[in-house]
C-alpha cells in the first residue's frame, strides 16, 4: 500500500468530477456541433448548376444561357429552366445577369428596342437597364438586375442562385 492513501472523500469527489465531466461533454458536444454546422456548410461547394456555355466562347456581347435544375414542389419534382445574360465586361470579368425584370418579373431582352440600342429592354412596361444591369431612372424598374454568382469548371460556366444588388 502506498503512503498517500486516497481518502473516501477524495475518491468520491474524483469519481463525481470524472463522471459529471463526461456527462457534460456528452451534452455539450452535439450542441456545439449544431451551432457550428452552418459555418462548416458554407464552405462546401454550394448549389452551382452546370450550363452548356464554354467560358472561352464568351465575348463582350451578352448571350442567353439556359440552364435547368430539379426543383421539388411538395411531392412534385420538376425541371426548372432559368436563363441568364452572360458576357465579359471591359476588364474581362464574367457578368451573369438574371433576365427577370425587377419591376414585375417579365423577361428582359438584350438590344431588342430599336430606339435604345445596347440596353436590356423589358417589353411589358418598357423598362430599361444599361449593359451592367443598372436600371435607367425614369423607367418603371426600381432596382438593378440580379446577378448570378458563377464558377468555371473544366472550361464550362457554372451558375449559382441569383442575388439582388443594392439600389443604383
Amino acid at each position: 500500500m502506498s503512503k498517500d492513501r486516497v481518502s473516501r472523500r477524495q475518491f468520491l469527489s474524483y469519481t463525481l468530477t470524472g463522471v459529471g465531466g463526461f456527462m457534460a461533454a456528452g451534452m455539450l458536444m452535439p450542441m456545439v456541433r449544431f451551432a457550428v454546422d452552418p459555418v462548416l456548410k458554407a464552405e462546401a461547394a454550394g448549389d452551382f448548376v452546370a450550363t452548356k456555355q464554354k467560358v472561352a466562347d464568351l465575348t463582350n456581347e451578352p448571350v442567353r444561357v439556359d440552364f435547368s435544375y430539379k426543383q421539388k414542389d411538395a411531392w412534385y419534382e420538376s425541371d426548372v429552366t432559368e436563363s441568364a445574360w452572360v458576357y465579359k465586361d471591359d476588364a474581362g470579368k464574367i457578368m451573369a445577369l438574371s433576365p427577370v425584370c425587377k419591376h414585375l418579373g417579365c423577361t428582359v431582352n438584350w438590344n431588342s428596342d430599336k430606339e435604345h440600342p445596347e440596353q436590356f429592354f423589358c417589353p411589358c412596361h418598357y423598362g430599361r437597364y444599361t449593359k451592367d444591369g443598372t436600371n435607367i431612372p425614369g423607367t418603371p424598374p426600381l432596382a438593378p438586375l440580379d446577378v448570378y454568382p458563377y464558377k468555371e469548371k473544366d472550361g464550362y460556366l457554372y451558375l449559382g442562385k441569383a442575388k439582388p444588388r443594392k439600389e443604383a
Binding site: 439556359d66 429552366t81 425584370c101 414585375l104 417579365c106 411589358c124 418603371p140
Partner: protein, 154 residues
Amino acid sequence: MKWLPQDVETYSAAKEYVDTAVVPLYSITIGKGVKQSAAASEFITLLTNYLERQFTGRILLFPPFTYLGNEQDEKVLTDLKKWEESILDAGFKHVFYVTSDFEWRSREGELNGTLIWLPAIPLEQMNDTQKLTMIDSQVQQLLTIFTQKWQKSD
C-alpha cells in the same frame, strides 16, 4: 402571373400594370380522339406557361376554359362570352385566347379578344431540350402579336 395565390396577390397590388388576360381554350374529347385532345392540352399548357414567363408582369394567365369537343355550339360561345365580359369588367384591356381547336377560327369575329390559333405539335416523342427549343421558337413569334397590340393601345 399565374393563377396562384401569391401571384394573384401581386396582381391585386399592381392592377394598373397588368392589363392583359390570357385564357387557354381546351377542347376535351372522350372516347375516340382522346389522345389528340390530351396532346393538344399538353402543347397549349407548355406554350401558355412559357408565354407567361416572358410577360409575367403584364399578363394574368387564367385557368383553362374547358369544354367538350363535340359540343362546339352556341352554349360554349355564350359561356366564353360571359368569361370575357367579367374579365373586361375587372379592368383588363386586352384578352387573348390560345387554342389549337380549329373550330374557334370561324367564331373569332364574335369575340372581343384576340384569338391565337396554333396547330398542336405532338410533344410526346421529344426530349426536354427539344420541347424547350420548339416551344421557345413558337413563343418568340407570339411575342410580337402581344407587343404590337400593346404598342397600339399605349
